[in-house]
């Protein structure tokens, strides 16, 4: 920027256009490969629906384990789609172009994470109240469950992006990613599933949702930097 010969470039340091570029592109690609999205959602629906069939039709028991099952299934659905977050761009050379773009890599990575959440986390959160009915959950629990998933699933995408970038180019990348990331998902799982339990115990979900919100803020600030650093390492 200070060099007199350097070409002026409006994109240098521009965060929002960078986020928009990768968000728009990833959503467009996701829409063109709808079948894959459908498979993930179907996986979520099937996993959730298997538990009542395999365990018990008893309503109180189902209502107790419902939130936990829905959350674990959300974790798995998120994990299922994570390896593809960077792998496709890595394999076809787009990741090199992304890293050499004048836009900040953190912004471009953020856009990709946002697109990942919109295509996996958001549908999972929206479907959850519907699936919760199978578990004889009451209306208030269902609303809290959806709210907790809305706040919690972005954390899954953000943390998962770090793992996806770290395991880029590794042979057993997919399974390593699961080992790496699932332990980090534990706090989200505890507070997320805990919020519904708190409501059922008459305590209100405020505390759990606040903690999830705090976790989301920390992840939003930190994860793009960590994921961008991991992408740079993967390219080296």
């Amino acid at each position: 920027m200070s060099a007199p010969n350097a070409a002026p470039n409006a994109a240098a340091g521009a965060i929002l256009p960078g986020v928009r570029w990768s968000l728009v592109r990833d959503l467009k690609i996701a829409l063109r490969s709808r079948a894959e999205l459908g498979v993930q959602l179907l996986f979520y629906v099937i996993v959730v629906s298997l538990f009542p069939l395999a365990t018990t039709p008893e309503r109180t028991l189902l209502a107790t384990m419902g939130p936990g099952v829905l959350w674990v299934a959300a974790l798995l659905a998120s994990l299922l789609s994570l390896p593809r977050l960077f792998a496709g761009d890595h394999a076809d050379g787009t990741l090199e172009q992304i890293a050499l773009s004048p836009y900040p890599l953190e912004a471009l990575v953020s856009g990709k994470i946002l697109a990942h959440w919109l295509t996996t986390g958001l549908p999972v959160a929206v479907l959850a109240p519907l699936l919760g009915i199978q578990y004889a959950m009451d209306a208030e629990s269902l609303i809290v469950l959806a709210a907790a998933l809305l706040v919690g699933t972005p954390i899954l995408s953000l943390l998962g992006a770090i793992g996806a970038a770290l395991t880029l180019g590794l042979r057993a990348g997919g399974s390593l990613l699961a080992l790496l990331i699932l332990p980090l998902y534990v706090p989200v799982l505890i507070f997320g599933a805990g919020s519904v339990d708190a409501v059922r115990a008459g305590l209100g979900a405020g505390a759990n949702l606040s903690l999830l919100g705090a976790g989301l803020l920390v992840a939003v600030v930190g994860a793009p930097f960590a994921a961008a650093a991991a992408v740079r390492i993967a390219l080296d």
Partner: protein, 204 residues
């Protein structure tokens, strides 16, 4: 202007190259040749700022640059051996997307003209999935033309290109140098450039 001072690269414990010094002035192209595995791609990735030299330094416009330096990212057009195309998108969408990624507003007219120039006007609306390797390469050429960057890094640019495509590439490189651009190319193909413009470098 691009300079390398005492550049070295290693793979594991073995040195690919050491003590590499060169200077490429505006209007010149560094043509890197060498047998397979002598580090041509490694050198190109270093110069592009994608990887870290194990020793030595790279200077761009007289200033030492680290990997992913902003000054280099604002000037470079990197054409690696991977085409960076998305199968799901059409030729036109791919080009527009890559141009936008480089920070240039993807003007529809400019994109179409660039595709016409590389003889892809009929394939404009086809998904990249059905394009041949050579046609994919041509989208890369169109990208170089639209971006108008001053520093080209080309890794085996003639791979999969037919005779007409190779001529087109040679013409584009010549024009680029004429405008005072800098280029680095790993290629064994004669690009038909005047001697004064070419700085040869043989690795290995």
């Amino acid at each position: 202007m691009l300079e390398a001072l005492d550049l070295a690269a290693r793979r594991g414990l073995a040195h690919l190259f050491t003590g590499l010094c060169f200077r490429v002035d505006p209007g010149q192209v560094l043509v890197v040749t060498g047998a397979n595995g002598t580090g041509k791609t490694t050198l190109l990735r270093m110069l592009a700022g994608l990887s870290m030299p194990s020793h030595g330094e790279i200077r761009w416009q007289g200033k030492r640059v680290a990997p992913f330096a902003t000054a280099v990212r604002a000037a470079i057009a990197f054409a690696g051996h991977l085409p960076a195309l998305k199968d799901e998108l059409t030729a036109e969408e791919n080009l527009a997307s890559l141009v936008a990624l480089a920070g240039a507003p993807p003007a529809r007219e400019a994109i179409r003209q660039a595709l016409d120039a590389v003889a892809l006007s009929r394939q404009r609306a086809l998904p990249a999935r059905v394009l041949s390797q050579g046609q994919r390469r041509r989208i890369g050429l169109a990208r170089l033309a639209v971006l108008g960057r001053s520093f080209w890094v080309l890794d085996e640019p003639v791979t999969a290109l037919d005779a007409a495509g190779t001529d087109l590439l040679a013409r584009m490189v010549a024009d680029h140098l004429e405008r005072g651009g800098v280029a680095v190319a790993a290629t064994h193909a004669p690009l038909g450039l005047p001697e004064s413009r070419v700085r040869p470098l043989t690795l290995g």
